[in-house]
Every structure is written in C-alpha cells, then in structure tokens.
Assembly symmetry: C2
Amino acid sequence: MASKRATINDVASLAGVSIATASKALNGRQDVRAATRERVLAAAAELSFQPNALARGLLSGQTRTVGLLTSDSVGRFGIPVLLGAEDAFGAGEMAVLLCDARGDAIREQHHLRALLSRRVDGLIVVGESTNPRPSVSKDLPVPVVYAYGPSEDPGDVSFVPDDVGAAAMAVNHLLALGRRRIAHITGPTHYKAARDREEGFRRALEEAGAEQTGQTMSGVWSQRWGRHAAEMLLMAEPEIDAVFCGSDQIAAGFVEAARERGRRVPDDIAVVGYDNWEVLSTETRPALTTVDMNLELLGRTAAQHLFAAIDGKATPGVHKMPCQLVIRDSTSPPGIS
Amino acid sequence: MASKRATINDVASLAGVSIATASKALNGRQDVRAATRERVLAAAAELSFQPNALARGLLSGQTRTVGLLTSDSVGRFGIPVLLGAEDAFGAGEMAVLLCDARGDAIREQHHLRALLSRRVDGLIVVGESTNPRPSVSKDLPVPVVYAYGPSEDPGDVSFVPDDVGAAAMAVNHLLALGRRRIAHITGPTHYKAARDREEGFRRALEEAGAEQTGQTMSGVWSQRWGRHAAEMLLMAEPEIDAVFCGSDQIAAGFVEAARERGRRVPDDIAVVGYDNWEVLSTETRPALTTVDMNLELLGRTAAQHLFAAIDGKATPGVHKMPCQLVIRDSTSPPGIS
DNA sequence: CTCCTGGACTTAAAGGTTTTCGGAAACGTA
DNA sequence: TACGTTTCCGAAAACCTTTAAGTCCAGGAG
C-alpha cells in the first residue's frame, strides 16, 4: 500500500504554482501558459495524482454515480445497466452503486437513504418480476427510473418488456408454420408475466380466427412442471401440433417428455419457449425457439433515460420494450431440419 | 423531486443552536443537554435531514464504500459480497461500487482509477475462473482481496474454492457407496478448475487403492458434451458404476443420455455433478448429487477479510474455502430410492 | 509620458461535515 | 467574595477541489 495520496496542493507545490493554476492546467482550461501546463502535468504524473471525487462532488453537486436498487436480479440487469451507463458516458466515467433489498421494504428504505446520503445523481429500481411495485419516487431529490418491474405510479418512468406483443409474435410464428392446434403451458397466474403472455397468446389466435387447444395450464416456472404438463396435455389433447410455453424451463421439460413419448419436435409438435436462457434453450434437443426479452437493451435504455432525466428531460409513463423471437430447431419448418 | 436538501446548518438554525452542537446531538456524542438534543433531532426529522456522505468522507478519509471489480460474475458474487458487507456492518451502512471490466485489462485500469478517485475503502477483485490472474495491488493505497480467481502474487489475499478437496470428497462419497469402477468427465484442461478437480479425483482413488475407469474425458462445460461423452463412455466402458462430472451441465447431459440408453441412475450408475446450479441439479431425473462451492460464503468471507484488511489486519496468501457435497437422488444407496 | 488591454497567475470563497479547543455559565467550597 | 470544577455550547479549522474575482506586469496606443 502506497504512503499517502497526493492532493492538488502537492502537485502545485512540486510544479511551483498555485493550486488554482494547477487545477486549470489539469482540467485543460485557458489562461495557463503551455510551459506551465506541462510542468503541472509532469508533477501530477510523478505523484500519480488522482483528483478527489468527493471534494469535486461536494462542490459541483454531481457525483457521476447512480444507484441500482434491486431485489436480486443483479445478474440480469446490473451488467446491462453498467454497459448502458458506460455507453452514455465514457468508460469509467459513471459508476454504479449496487444495493440488494432482498425483497424487504424496510431494507429498501435503508438502502434508499444510504444512496441519497451518498448523493447519487439518479436511481434505477429493478423489479424481480413484471408485477407493478410501489413507487419510491415520492419527494425524492433525484430522478428515478424503473426497469422490468414498473412503478404503480404512472407518473414515474418505467421500462418493461412487451410480453403481450412478444407472446403474440411467438404464436404468429407458429401460425405461419401452418400449426393450428396450439396449446399453452405457463407459470403461476399471480405473475403478471404469465397473464400478459397468455393474453398475447389469445389475441394472436383470435386475430387468426383460430381456437386455443385445451385450457391454459398454469403451474410453476420449472422443468418439472413442463414435463408434468406435457404428460397431461399429450393425454388429453393428443392431436396438438404446437405448444407455446411461458418459460424456457417449462419448454425444456416439455420437449424432454414429448421426446420420451415418441412425439417428434418440431415435426409432430413445434415448441416455443420464453426467456432465451441459454443454458436451457440451446442445450435441449432440439434447441428451442424462444422469446428473448432483450434485457440488455432494456437495462441500457433505462440507464440512458435516467441520464436524460438527470438533465431534466424526463419521459413519464410505462414504456414497453420490444422483444425478439430467436428461431431455433424446435420450430424448424418441415424439410429444413 | 423535492426542493433542496437540508444541511446541518438548516437543522442548527431551526433548532436554534450552532452547527457544532447540532453535529454532536445528531452523532450521539456527549456534551449536549438532553433537551437540546431532542430539539435538534426534531428539527432534523422535520427537515428530513440526511448528512452529506461526501463531506463526511472528505473529512474522515473513510467512505464506507468498497469497489467490486468483476468480469461479469456479478450474479454469482456481487450478491454474496453485498450480503457479506451488510453482515460485517449494519444494513445500509456499507455500499458497493460495481464495475465490470469485461475481461479487458485496459478497461480494468480505467475502472481502477475511477474507484480510487472515488476513495473506496477497499477493493474486491472477482475472477471469472479459478485461473490465477495478474495482481492489481501494486502500490495501491487501499487493501485488495481476490475472490474466486486468485492473484498471481502470493503476497495478495485470495479466496478460492478448494476444488481438489471437494472432488476428493465427491469421489469418497462414491467409494463409500461401494462403487469401484468410476469414470471422470470434465471441461477444458486450460481451466485450472478442471485440472484441480481431476487431481482430487485421482488422489481419492489412489488413497482407496482403486483405479480410474477409462481416461479422463475433457471437453467443454456443456450439457451437449455431457451427452456425447456419455455415449462414448457407455460404449467403451460399459461396466462403469459411477461417474464424477466436472459440472452440473455435464452431469445433466450424462444422466439424460444414460437414461435413454436404459442405464438406471443411481442403481446402475451413480452420478455426481459440480456447482449445484439449481436450475439443472434439482431438475434432472434423478436430481443430482453435486458439489456446492459455497460461493455465498466465499463472497461473504472475502468481504469480511477486506474489512479486516482495512483495519490493518491483512492475512496474505491463497485461502482455500471448503465446499459442500449436496446429496440427492443420483447417488442414493440401493434400497432407499 | 500616461492609460489601457489582455495574458498569466494568485487569492479567497464555497461546498457540508466533524472535531478540537476555548468560553461561559452554573454550582460548590473555602 | 474568590476560586475551582463541571456542564453545555460555539468559533474556527480542516478535508480537497473549483471558480469568480483580483493582482501584476508587459506591451501597445494615444
């Protein structure tokens, strides 16, 4: 560990100028002779001077730091938000202060206070599901954007995936392949995601004048449920030719069970999953066609809008972000696979 | 957005005392009458005063903030480190600044500078594999601990999972079940994790006087490779009664392929995986016995040792953290399953 | 010669908090 | 009354940087 951190005072002394001149030289401002500037820069390099961001922030009121308040979806969102922040500024210019509330409102309040006392420039609140969540933005001195889980307050800025549209897109893909006897297996109905995806499913069928085959099967988001549902479904509706699953876990369970029962995917039954969770979607046999929610884009967009809001250009409301259908072998048209 | 943030000055004015008294009252120090303290506290509450952490840090030289420098294992480590930080202090007392270097040394330098200029109290560097990585700690004014990926410099503080010991533990478990014809399928040999796990595998067999069945099969960390390896292995060494896999992905592929070929798991072949990645390990049929590296404990321990180092109590060297064998159905002794 | 201009640099204030030290009041003792 | 002690409070410095305002000087214009 090095001895003591150099301050601009040390730099100024070493260069034989005042701290004001040193500051101007270091920040590339006018009113300083080239020779002097060079001397200052040399001194700063020798002392490996790093300006103290605290002092700077205290003065300017800007910390170039944003808070990320999550409830454990750090892996899915933390990185995209970081990338978004870096894209909007230079690399290393903006920093992210990470907090995990573990789903506890009290702890969330604690973290909120801690972030505010650190004078973050803005806040990104990440939900663990797409269910609307209570707003934290009441009377906050900094702008807030919500990602994935929208705020209940429509006056806040929220970014959510367009589950309804994505589900419709998935079903339209199945319809375009000529499939007409399509079933739906999904997760618990207390998830808005499950309800939205079912709505997209129904709408697409309606618009095409087709009928859903069987009832929507709601269970949990697991491979086990996918297998179980597959067994029931293949028994009850043996003539189905496609299934839209509410998650890749369910879809993975479905294709495994179908395979065991001698149903060929995609020839007999085409399958579409949801999430594009690659450890599942690319490793099943066949690999899954699935909806990618573009969470990275979502995080990046949220970060960019936060910066816009920091600059006073907020755009309230719930913004639905488009998803993308990743087509793999589980829906290959006949003759290609 | 609220109007303006209250400062301790505002609180002092409202309470009719000087800022020194206000500070003392707010920080619970002596030398202030109970009645006065109460007045100050009431004023602070009314203005919802939050002390400015920048000013405080500037003065004390402590920011109660640590930097987390990762290369994308945020999900696996970010959270444990956060929890560890909260455990070592009160919730919301310590904050974590998150940086992702994306495996780029230049970017890592950038982030390092950004973190230092923000005056973090310490640094946790997280590797993406257990391969040793270059040290960043040369002449840094703050302590650093390495988690998962150790530093090449033995003078640094590193925490890594005990892969050798864990693999031996897994194999001993198989031996205790009476299995003697044990094979090993794992990932690429340029991963130290793969080499360490193989070493533990060999050692355990040697100590038991048993012989490895077949050659160690090195491929990639995927389910697909697990299936492929299973096919080759079952062909070449049909009499095996157990397999130790270098990851749950490989193990999941193995049990699937074995099942298809009519081999019963665990009755005919016992299987042990590695990672306890629950989306895989609990969803295969049967659920996998697997090594849990206790990454959460690792992260927490790293955080706690960082705090110790901040207090001047460093403990240099590479610390091997114990892993844990999670026993599930894929190694149930006969008669139980 | 004086006056002015503009460049190069310095002084000082500001930002919010903590802390040291000194001061003042109240009270007890001789 | 004079003095020492305790209790409570305030003034001011310190942390580091940026910036507005001020100083000084050389040189050009009149």
